[in-house]
């Protein structure tokens, strides 16, 4: 009994350390100067703590042909993620609401088609999006990426919201119809106020998903239009000339921070929101 506990805990701790190792190495390197890393090894405790790497990475570090750090790319990511998250969440809530609470002919088919998007790999949709963005003249623009992520995100947000809204008692809707409320008034006054648990879930999911997305960013944007995940690829290109592990580590950590913060602050709601629909 006691021994089994010890074995279980040591196995868990060992695995946790193993999983955290890369993060630990990156964190360590972000606090060491590049000279120190070059002189010793990629893996090691900092001899002298330095935070200069973060300042460098933020707005001085050279990536590709520009030496403006990752600041503009971070801003690109925010101007992409915030509208795409809000739009896809609102549209998903509206779609989930109409599929669940306003049954119409073929509603199950519509729901099936919308959620099919959840299962389609990104690569498969590259060419169609190329055509769409070209025809809309949105190639190499943040707006183009917003469009892509809003539409693709709707598959997830519709699925989430629909699964949450099925637990809303249909009598509420009937009462509202007799009271004289229409489609949008019922959504706005009755359904939306009940939605925060699931909206938090979809916002976290969309925010992290869109922020971390790489393929579309790197395919459809270039140069100064790139979101930070796509821009970071230039970091590895820099490795060949002169290794700057300190700045690179700091840049990666800065880029990873927003979704991490969103998860840290919203994580509790994330777990409770996913199961909230199960309880009446």
């Amino acid at each position: 009994m006691k021994w089994s506990r010890i074995i279980i805990y040591s196995a868990l701790i060992a695995l946790a350390l193993l999983f955290l190792m890369p993060l630990g190495v990156v964190l360590m390197n972000s606090l060491r100067s590049s000279q120190e890393i070059a002189a010793t090894s990629m893996i090691g405790w900092p001899r002298q703590l330095t935070f200069a790497n973060y300042g460098q990475a933020w707005n001085q570090f050279c990536m590709a042909e520009h030496c403006w750090g990752i600041e503009p790319y971070m801003l690109n990511s925010f101007t992409l993620v915030i509208p795409a998250t809000i739009l896809s969440t609102m549209l998903g809530a509206l779609a989930g609401y109409s599929i669940t609470l306003w049954r119409f002919r073929g509603d199950q088919l519509v729901f099936g088609l919308v959620t099919l998007g959840v299962f389609l790999p990104e690569q498969m949709k590259l060419i169609p999006w190329v055509v769409v963005l070209r025809d809309l003249s949105l190639m190499n623009t943040i707006s183009g990426l917003i469009l892509i992520h809003t539409i693709q995100g709707m598959s997830f947000t519709t699925l989430f919201c629909r699964n949450y809204y099925v637990s809303i008692p249909p009598d509420l809707l009937k009462a509202a119809k007799i009271d004289g409320a229409g489609f949008f008034r019922i959504f706005w006054r009755i359904v939306l106020p009940l939605s925060p648990p699931i909206l938090i879930v979809t916002v976290i999911f969309q925010f992290t998903g869109i922020w971390n997305e790489f393929l579309y960013g790197v395919t459809f944007t270039s140069g100064g239009q790139q979101p930070v995940t796509a821009a970071l690829i230039s970091l590895s290109a820099a490795v060949t000339s002169e290794p700057m592990y300190g700045e690179q580590s700091a840049a990666v950590l800065i880029a990873a921070l927003p979704p991490l913060l969103v998860y840290l602050f919203g994580g509790r709601y994330f777990m409770s929101g996913l199961t909230a629909g199960a309880v009446k």
Partner: protein, 371 residues
């Protein structure tokens, strides 16, 4: 004027026919209860009247206006749901005014209407609370307030009391009845509880398998059930029904239970002229438990001594207010309601008085009431 008139209404879901040719005329000011076991179509019928579902055929008329193609909100109705269906994110006040808000009623008018209804239902202290902060009975009142504030032509109640505990249900039952008497509203009330139906209704429509079995006032339903289903559904404990035989002899009709057995029971029936056609044939005899009592009981205002039968007692159930006795009449099981202080010994014979004036006879093939 008929407040609600339903003509030739039917409803089918794919192949399943849930309502078959329903015809009802409900006068203004009536309290009509639709009662029946679950799955009989009563709630579907109410939904169709409310406009939440469409009929497959037939006409619904509210206040003399055909409403088949009219939206629920324009039908001049209000509805109270089993689940109360209060809007969870709104205060009680907002719940009550939501309908007026949708119809763009001016604010001062809304305030006055809320004040009036809150006073009527004694929910003034609750107006600023959320539904989640209310007890079941309070939610029920708010749900009624939301309906009352509309002052509609027709109130629809869909099993409004079935989520309440037994004691509260009795209280609310009386309160709804009192409310009806006070404001003279026209009410259509759906329930599966035959006691609610008997106590509140001015007229009852008993439904079964998508059809109205009988539509009449409570006394008629109870005294002259149109068929065996109504006889067995209304009343608690239900009416005893058993096979019997009408004798072919002329004179006063005589009915025999367990003919040929040593303990056969022969009863002479006064009146029952309608049974003449069934002389000499099998019938189903129905007798309410309260028409079988301890010997010595005098039924109604007759000076005539009632018929006394010695019957074996199988079981007794003292309820406090009365003793329910399971006995056998001519070999057929029957329940009797006798005085609470009389406890006949089980397994032995005991004398029982029968009220033969209130016996019902049914045709065994059509199951319809003969007399």
């Amino acid at each position: 004027m008929a407040a609600l008139s339903i003509r030739g209404l039917s409803k089918r879901f794919a192949r399943l026919e849930v309502l078959k040719d329903i015809n009802l005329d409900i006068e203004s000011g009536e309290f009509t209860v639709l009662v029946g076991p679950s799955g009989c179509g009563k709630s579907t019928l109410l939904s169709i009247v409310a406009g939440l579902e469409r009929a497959s055929a037939g006409i619904v008329e509210i206040g003399g206006r055909i409403v088949n193609d009219i939206e629920p909100k324009d039908r001049d109705i209000a509805m109270v749901f089993q689940s109360y269906a209060l809007y969870p994110s709104m205060s009680v006040r907002q719940n009550i005014t939501f309908g007026m808000e949708c119809r763009h009623v001016p604010k001062p008018e809304q305030e006055a209407a809320v004040a009036h209804v809150a006073k009527l239902l004694q929910i003034e202290p609750l107006l600023d609370r959320r539904p989640s902060q209310l007890s079941g009975g309070q939610r029920q009142r708010v749900a009624m307030g939301r309906a009352l504030v509309r002052d509609p032509l027709l109130f629809l109640f869909d099993e409004p009391l079935s989520n309440l505990d037994a004691q509260l249900r009795v209280e609310m039952r009386m309160e709804i009845k009192r409310l009806h008497q006070r404001i003279g509203a026209t009410i259509v009330y759906v329930t599966h509880d035959q006691i609610e139906a008997m106590t509140m209704a001015t007229r009852i429509a008993v439904m079964y398998k998508g059809e109205v079995q009988q539509f009449a006032d409570p006394d008629t339903i109870y005294r002259y059930p149109a068929n065996l289903f109504v006889a067995r559904f209304m009343g608690s404990p239900p009416m005893n029904t058993m096979p019997a035989r009408l004798l072919a002899e002329d004179g006063m009709p005589q009915v025999v239970i367990g003919a040929g057995r040593p303990d056969e029971v022969r009863l002479r029936l006064r009146g029952y002229d309608a049974a003449a056609a069934f002389r000499g044939s099998e019938v189903v005899l129905g007798i309410r438990p309260e028409c079988i009592a301890e010997s010595g009981r005098v039924f109604g205002d007759t000076s005539e001594a009632p018929i006394v039968v010695n019957a074996p007692v199988e079981m007794i159930e003292p309820t406090g207010a009365e003793t329910i006795v399971l006995l056998r009449l001519g070999g057929e099981p029957a329940l009797a309601r006798i005085s609470p202080d009389i406890r006949p010994a089980t397994g032995a014979l005991a004398p029982f008085a029968l009220d033969t004036r209130r016996i019902c006879l049914f045709d065994p093939t059509t199951e319809r009431l003969i007399a």
